[in-house]
C-alpha cells in the first residue's frame, strides 16, 4: 500500500535517503518552470539535487492572502531556512507543503512526484515530515507510543494480524520497537519512554516531536520554529542535536526560525517572506545585508 519505500527490517538511515534518491526522470519537467525566482548560485543548486520544489503557491483565507505566488526549492542534504515577520505566512507554507491545507494555485513536487492535491496522510507517506509551531504531541499516548505512531505508518500487518496476534504482527511490532529505541536514544529520551508528554518539560516535548518526525524517515523534514521557547543555552544544545541528527540520518531540512543564531549557523540558503510573498532569498550573508530584509524587520519584535 505504501509502495516499496521501506522494508521494516532495514536500518533507519534508509533507502529513501540514499544519495540521488531525489533524482528521477519525473523531476525533469520542473526544470526551467520557475523564472520568477532566480536560482541561487550556491553549491549543489543544480536541479538534479532538488528534492522538494513548490511553484507559484497561492493560499488565501477569506480576504487575506496568506501566501502569494511563492516559488521555492530545497536540495537534497541541505538545510534551508524560511524567515519573516509574524504573520508573514510561513506556517501556512508548511501547511501547504504537508497537505494540511490544499493550495489555491500552484504545485508541489517531491522527488519527482507531484504531491499537491494528495490527501495529507499520503503526502506524509510520500516523505514530508513535520513538527508544529505549537507542539502537537498525542496526550493519550506515552512518549514511546507517540514515536511508534510514525513507525506504524510503515508497517503492513493487517487488522486480523493485530487482532489475533499472528506472526506478522509480532515480527513487525518487534522490528518497530527496536527502531523505537534508536530514535528515543537519538534524542536522549530513553528514560522517558513511558511518560506522558504532559509530564515532560517544554524542551523535552520538542525533542519528542523531533523523534516522532524523524521516525517517519521523511525525505524532507519541516521544522516550524523548533527553538521557540528555549533559553539561549538550550538553543545551543538544540543546534548541536540537530546538526548531529542531520549527519546521522542524512536529513534534508526546511526550517522556520526567528533566531538568527540558528539561521546563520545551520542554513545554506534562506528564503525571506513578508505579507505572503517572497521578498528575498540567498545565502545567510546575502540575506543579512539585503535592504529589503532589513526594512521588513524594522519595527518587528524579532528583528
Amino acid at each position: 500500500m505504501q509502495g516499496e519505500r521501506n522494508a521494516a527490517s532495514t536500518p533507519p538511515v534508509g533507502d529513501a535517503l540514499a544519495p540521488g534518491a531525489g533524482v528521477g526522470p519525473g523531476s525533469g519537467p520542473s526544470v526551467g518552470l520557475g523564472p520568477s525566482v532566480g536560482l541561487g548560485p550556491g553549491p549543489g543548486s543544480g536541479p538534479e539535487g532538488v528534492v522538494l520544489r513548490a511553484e507559484g503557491l497561492d493560499k488565501h483565507f477569506g480576504g487575506v492572502y496568506a501566501v502569494r505566488n511563492l516559488t521555492m526549492q530545497v536540495e537534497q542534504g541541505h538545510t534551508v531556512s524560511l524567515i519573516g515577520p509574524n504573520g508573514a505566512g510561513k506556517t501556512t507554507v508548511f501547511n501547504l507543503l504537508s497537505g494540511v491545507n490544499p493550495p489555491d494555485a500552484g504545485r508541489i513536487v517531491l522527488a519527482g512526484e507531484e504531491i499537491s492535491g494528495m490527501p495529507q496522510h499520503q503526502i506524509a507517506r510520500a516523505g514530508i515530515g513535520r513538527t508544529f509551531q505549537n507542539i502537537r504531541l498525542f496526550p493519550g499516548l506515552d512518549v514511546a507510543e507517540n514515536v511508534m505512531l510514525s513507525l506504524d505508518a510503515r508497517n503492513r500487518y493487517h487488522w486480523y494480524d493485530g487482532l489475533l496476534r499472528l506472526p506478522a504482527f509480532h515480527r513487525e511490532d518487534r522490528a518497530s520497537r527496536d527502531q523505537l529505541q534508536e530514535y528515543l536514544a537519538a534524542v536522549a529520551l530513553e528514560k522517558y519512554a513511558h511518560s506522558k508528554p504532559a509530564e515532560l518539560s517544554y524542551g523535552y516535548q520538542r525533542r519528542v516531536e523531533l523523534a516522532r518526525a524523524l521516525a517517519a524517515r521523511p525525505r524532507v523534514l519541516l521544522l516550524d520554529e523548533p527553538a521557540a521557547g528555549l533559553n539561549p543555552g538550550e538553543v545551543e544544545e538544540f543546534i548541536e542535536l540537530l546538526e548531529r541528527l542531520k549527519g546521522d540520518y542524512n536529513l534534508t531540512i526546511l526550517i522556520i526560525e526567528h533566531r538568527m543564531q540558528v539561521v546563520m549557523r545551520m542554513s545554506s540558503h534562506v528564503y525571506v517572506m513578508n505579507f505572503g510573498a517572497l521578498i528575498a532569498e540567498g545565502t545567510p550573508e546575502q540575506i543579512q545585508n539585503d535592504p529589503a530584509v532589513v526594512s521588513a524587520y524594522i519595527g518587528d519584535a524579532h528583528a
Binding site: 494540511v100 496522510h121 506524509a124 508544529f132 502537537r136 489475533l164 520497537r177 517517519a216
Partner: protein, 284 residues
C-alpha cells in the same frame, strides 16, 4: 442458582456490548447514540435465520456479525466524515431509523410484536467465553498499530494525518470492528432470551452503554469491563425497574462528572493486559 447464571449470562452479553463501545468511543473518540441498533441488526439477522431457515447457531452468528458490519459501513460512509458532535446526532438518527424499519417489516421481523421462538443456543459458558474473547480482541486491537492510530486521531486529527495516519480509514475500521462486537452481543442476546422486539434496542440503551464506559474510565478497557460487570449486575441483583435504572445512571453521571471526570480507572490497565507489549520492550 439458575437466577445467578442468568445474571452472569446477561452481564457477559453486556460486557461484549461495552467492549464495542470502548473501541468506538474510548479508542476512536466517536460517539454513537445509535449503537444499540447494530445489536438489533445482529439479533434479528441471527434470529430470523435460526427461526425461518433453521440455520445452526455458528453460521447464524457469523451472518449476524456480517449484517451488523454492513449496516455500520453504510451508516459510517456519510457519517464518519462529519464533525464529532454531529456524528452523535446522525448515528442517533440512523439508529432510530433501523428500529423503525424493524417495526415496519412485520412479515419478516414480527414488527412490534417481536420475533419469537429463537432456539436457545446461548448457554452461560458460551456467553462467558465469548465475552472473554471480545475483551481479548479489544485489548489486542488497542496495543496494535490500529489502536495507537485510533488514539492519535482522537487526540489530534491534523497531527495524526501528518504522521501518515489515514484518519477516515482508521475511524471506519474502529466503527466496523466495534459494530461487529455490538452485533455479536445481539446474536448472543437473541439466542438467550429466544425473543427480541425493536423496543429493546432504542437510543437509551446506547446512552446507557456510553455512561458505563465513562464510569469505568473512557481511556481504560479494564475500567470499561469492570463497570460493565458492576453496572450490568447491580440493577439485576437489586431487581431495579427500568425507571430506577435510569435514575441510578443519572446519579452516576453526576458523580463522575463532578468528582472523577476521567472515570474510576482513568487510564489504568491491568498489567497482565500489557504484558506482551512489555516483554517486547524489554527485548528491544
Amino acid at each position: 442458582m439458575g437466577y445467578y447464571l442468568s445474571v452472569l449470562t446477561f452481564t457477559s452479553i453486556t460486557v461484549v456490548a461495552i467492549t464495542s463501545i470502548y473501541v468506538i468511543t474510548g479508542l476512536a473518540g466517536l460517539f454513537s447514540l445509535g449503537q444499540a441498533a447494530f445489536m438489533a441488526v445482529g439479533a434479528y439477522t441471527s434470529g430470523i435465520l435460526i427461526t425461518r431457515l433453521s440455520m445452526p447457531f455458528l453460521p447464524a452468528v457469523v451472518f449476524g456479525i456480517a449484517a451488523g458490519m454492513l449496516a455500520a459501513f453504510l451508516v459510517g460512509i456519510p457519517t464518519l466524515k462529519l464533525r464529532r458532535d454531529y456524528i452523535a446526532l446522525v448515528t442517533f438518527g440512523f439508529g432510530e431509523a433501523i428500529i423503525a424499519i424493524l417495526n415496519n417489516t412485520a412479515n419478516v421481523t414480527g414488527g412490534a410484536m417481536g420475533l419469537v421462538g429463537i432456539t436457545p443456543y446461548t448457554t452461560t459458558p458460551v456467553a462467558v467465553g465469548i465475552a472473554v474473547l471480545a475483551v481479548v480482541l479489544a485489548r489486542n486491537f488497542k496495543y496494535s498499530r490500529f489502536g495507537r492510530q485510533c488514539i492519535a486521531v482522537k487526540n489530534d486529527e491534523v497531527a495524526a494525518a501528518s504522521m501518515g495516519v489515514n484518519v477516515a480509514g482508521i475511524k471506519m475500521m474502529a466503527f466496523l470492528f466495534g459494530s461487529a462486537l455490538t452485533a455479536l452481543a445481539g446474536t448472543l442476546y437473541a439466542s438467550y432470551t429466544t425473543y427480541v422486539e425493536p423496543g429493546l434496542f432504542v437510543w437509551t440503551l446506547s446512552a446507557e452503554w456510553i455512561i458505563i464506559v465513562f464510569f469505568g474510565g473512557v481511556n481504560s478497557l479494564t475500567g470499561a469491563v469492570v463497570a460493565a460487570v458492576l453496572l450490568g449486575t447491580l440493577p439485576e441483583i437489586l431487581r431495579a425497574t427500568a425507571e430506577w435504572r435510569i435514575a441510578i445512571y443519572s446519579v452516576l453521571v453526576l458523580l463522575i462528572i463532578n468528582f472523577r471526570p476521567s472515570g474510576i480507572f482513568g487510564e489504568y490497565e491491568l498489567p497482565l493486559w500489557r504484558s506482551i507489549a512489555r516483554r517486547f520492550r524489554r527485548a528491544g
